[in-house]
Symmetry: C2
Subunit: 136 residues, 2 copies
């Protein structure tokens, strides 16, 4: 997703255009890796030494709730990246060295079919972890 589309979604939902918000989005636009809240804060504090954790976490939560960012938990820490452009459901290979991802078009839920008839299925997680060709 790009900045323009992200701001479109934010405006539609009544969020104000602030410089901090914009810079957070710019960081994600220019980085395809999964980043932590701390990663964001570190970059932001170069320009805004008074930048607060609260602002980072609050905006990350906002962006995730609007599907501008996607989040996953890697080794106990929340990580974020710009939501994929592709509109079809998919999963990710995640490089544990550099944080870059590769889309996996397959979804195991398609194969399960009606294997759990009496169950209410709310969510699922399928991720592959390892090293990408560059990091191997």
């Amino acid at each position: 997703m790009n900045l323009t589309k992200a701001w479109g979604i934010l405006k539609e939902n009544g969020f104000k255009e602030t410089t901090k918000r914009n810079q957070i989005l710019e960081i994600f636009e220019g980085d395809e890796r999964y980043l932590t809240a701390r990663d964001i804060l570190d970059v932001m504090q170069k320009d805004y030494p008074s930048m607060s954790y609260d602002t980072v976490y609050r905006n990350l939560a906002t962006f995730v709730s609007l599907d501008i960012l996607e989040a996953t938990e890697l080794s106990g820490e929340k990580h974020f990246r710009m939501h994929c452009e592709s509109d079809h459901h998919h999963h990710h290979f995640i490089c544990m060295d550099c944080g870059k991802i590769k889309e996996i078009p397959l979804c195991p839920m398609d194969l399960l079919g009606a294997a759990l008839p009496a169950y209410e299925i709310d969510n699922h997680k399928f991720e592959i972890y390892g090293k990408c060709p560059e990091c191997k």
Copy 2:
């Protein structure tokens, strides 16, 4: 897995038989749900008011490293349960209400085949979240 088998593994690896360790294992033997370190501590402190977090965490880590327990991260917290008896690789449906699981015999990695030739695959996670028939 049962207590006898767990203690066999522990003894093989030179771990001493302590009352605390045994009670932790008994809790897991009698509970098929995913439990947190705090869950264990709460139960243990009824019998041992001085029970320390450190003891819980240290033993949980030991048990996981010996494949006596299996661990997963649910909403930011590490959860543990007795390792499944079944020797073939599988995944889990996890009830987010009661913590009970259901085994899913299918593994999506089987279907990926050689779809990621240049990648080093170290690990993967496939879990389905929702409500079990009892909790629905």
